[in-house]
Symmetry: C2
Subunit: 414 residues, 2 copies
């Protein structure tokens, strides 16, 4: 289907979706969950085609693993949808109301954004996830997945559309752009007339391409060069636990720790303790020369290391003379995602919370908690690293806008 046609349909859908009751929306999502499980065979057959193409094209093992669907993964997708059903519907909430001296009553109501576009890579589970979150918030959605997952995505979207239709809801609430060419993607990013918001989900390259080319408002998600600063007053055992957890509990994620900053006064006591722990997990250490003196094995860090999101078993280590230097260093190299301090000093904790410029700033905890589920939102559409609209983990509310509704009785402006 023509891209413009998809846009027009989505725009029509948004008016219908905005009118749906919570009950109807939940009914649609539940039907989609059941449909995915019922259509598992079809979806797996479609996925097998993508997997074979991927193997023929020598796709790396990590990507193949993300592309792969199994009976169990389809069940997880369905369970994810059922969880969204259980969440409260944010649409319609009144965010305050005032009566002006002239008698006008001005209220602010939470409404859907309208049409949400999502550009993502070869992870077919995103297809179902995004549908659930957008449908729950009354948004029409246009999906543009990676070309490597196109057969799987088609099967998933068709299944969802059939389920919606079966309960009398609009199947075109979710649409997939089947033409995954670059030209089409570039046009999609400029469809301001039809699309209200664009969310890129994927690696740094994808996000940069969208930020640089889109004229539609974008929420930037994802990249995380997260730091942990171990203060001279830190409980060193706690610091070891936190750094080890943030670095190694899962390495390919944006809230993993990529850089350690250590106060020089405790570097000698702390780094050998930590090295033992990190070595046991095969972590490579890249350090400045001062830190290198306390480490048995470490590679000298280059300027490039300070700004690097490794997503790997590597950590950079920087020593500093005081908290001001630590804060300056972190603010220079972080990506505004998540940074933590380990300290027993009340003043240092407060200063770090105040002065670090990031979506999430922690005292005495692992950066791995930056996550919609861990924050108690019950869902996550991504983690925003920009400052507009939403910052940090985004739950359902990030998919809403507001409108002012004004009740008068003939007021005119003097």
């Amino acid at each position: 289907m023509e891209l413009m046609e998809i846009g027009k349909i989505a725009k029509e859908m948004k008016y219908e979706l905005a009118k749906l009751s919570t009950e109807k929306k939940n009914q649609g999502i539940l039907a989609a969950a059941e449909g995915l499980e019922r259509d598992a065979d079809k979806i797996l057959a479609a996925n097998a085609v993508d997997m074979e193409n991927g193997r023929n094209r020598q796709m790396p093992q990590g990507l193949l693993d993300r592309l792969l669907l199994t009976e169990d993964r389809i069940h997880q997708m369905a369970e994810g949808l059922r969880q969204v059903v259980a969440l409260p519907d944010p649409i319609g909430e009144m965010l305050g109301s005032t009566r002006r001296p002239n008698g006008l009553e001005i209220g602010k109501r939470r409404v859907p954004i309208g049409v949400v576009g999502v550009i993502y890579e070869a992870r077919p589970n995103v297809t179902a996830d995004v549908f659930g979150l957008c449908f729950k918030t009354g948004n029409a959605v246009i999906l543009k997945g990676g070309s490597d997952a196109i057969t799987s995505n088609k099967a998933i979207v068709e299944s969802i559309q059939r389920s919606l239709e079966s309960c009398g809801l609009m199947p075109k609430s979710v649409q997939l752009i089947e033409d995954t060419s670059r030209t089409t993607t570039e046009k999609f990013m400029k469809m301001n007339e039809y699309v209200d918001l664009l969310i890129p989900r994927g690696g740094a390259g994808l996000i940069r391409t969208v930020v640089e080319n889109a004229t539609i408002p974008v929420i930037e998600t994802g990249t995380g060069n997260c730091h942990i600063y171990v203060d001279e007053t830190a409980d060193l055992a706690m610091a070891c636990d936190i750094v080890e957890n943030a670095k190694t509990q899962r390495i390919g994620v944006c809230n993993a720790c990529e850089s350690l900053v250590v106060h020089e006064d405790i570097a000698g006591a702390f780094l050998p303790m930590l090295e033992t722990r990190l070595r046991a997990k095969q972590v490579e250490i890249r350090s400045d020369s001062r830190a290198g003196r306390y480490l048995k094995e470490s590679v000298p860090a280059t300027e490039e290391d300070w700004g690097k999101e490794y997503l790997d078993l590597i950590i950079s280590v920087k020593t500093v003379s005081d908290i001001d230097e630590a804060i300056r260093h972190i603010n220079s190299y972080n990506t505004g995602h998540s940074d933590a301090i380990v300290t027993t000093s009340y003043d240092h904790a407060r200063q770090f919370l105040d002065e670090i410029d990031a979506a999430c700033v922690y005292v005495n905890a692992s950066t791995r908690f930056t996550d919609g589920f861990e924050f108690g939102f019950g869902a996550e559409i991504g983690i925003s690293t920009q400052k507009l609209h939403a910052r940090g983990p985004m739950g359902l509310e990030a998919l809403t806008s507001t409108k002012y509704i004004i009740y008068g009785n003939g007021q005119i402006r003097e």
Copy 2:
């Protein structure tokens, strides 16, 4: 100064500004207000240069009037700054906090956005306005005004910088890009490393250019094709008052009414009444043929008229058979700014509020109230017609972001 240098300085400033107390910030804004009045002669002399250049270049009278500064207008700029001092400081407010089952305490704090860029046309008063709003919210600001106002803008920014310096505050909290060339402006719009938010203030052409070229997140402001729908149950005298007010009270503004939608059943009774009122104010009417039958003088409206922001003594008139047709028409042609219904029907009022997709939806009141001051915000940085971050009149809060601050005692993720 080099553009990159300006960006770097602004980024340094943002960390300092984020730390300033409300008292210090108010002190700076008050000093700037006094400074502008003290420097009035210098500023007027600079403005005379711009005015002469403008006249030599045959600038239209309307633009010359916007460019002109007088003693009184400088006083108004200073008064505007004093009003911002009187407003509460939104920075530091806690927007809720939760304790998670694992003991993590997660709070959401209101913080400055960081570096705000503003691109505007030849209105030198915007220079002082924007400084006040940004300084109050702890944001560093980079201004790019129109080339026609460059001498005036330089004088105003220098005056503000001197005032800040005199009370020990950072003069470079506000910086002006003196090179107003197109190449520099295009580079400015892509300085994502240094600028967190870009706000275009001006006509539709400027806004489109920024939306199309910026890679920095933009808040789209301004254009308004506002509709008033007069329902078949309307109080016709009230409808006349509201339409006349919204069309004629001030014509060059984005919240003026540009299009009237009338139910066919009352068109015969209402349009002749309204025509008398609008003729008295020299308003030209462009109508569909059904409406034309009830009007003494009217030009046939073309398709182009329905989508047009006239900013002039012209109104388009469209007849409809029911409220559904009215809502469809308005949602097709509005700019998402402000639309109103005049009705005595409870159900129609409710349906209109629910289904019109605009920042501000009115029942029985003039669209001219869409304004930060009229809404009680005490200030206005613009009126957002997009759905992200801020929608409708933007007060100080629109210049803020949030960050999560998380208190732990050693939590790691399992």
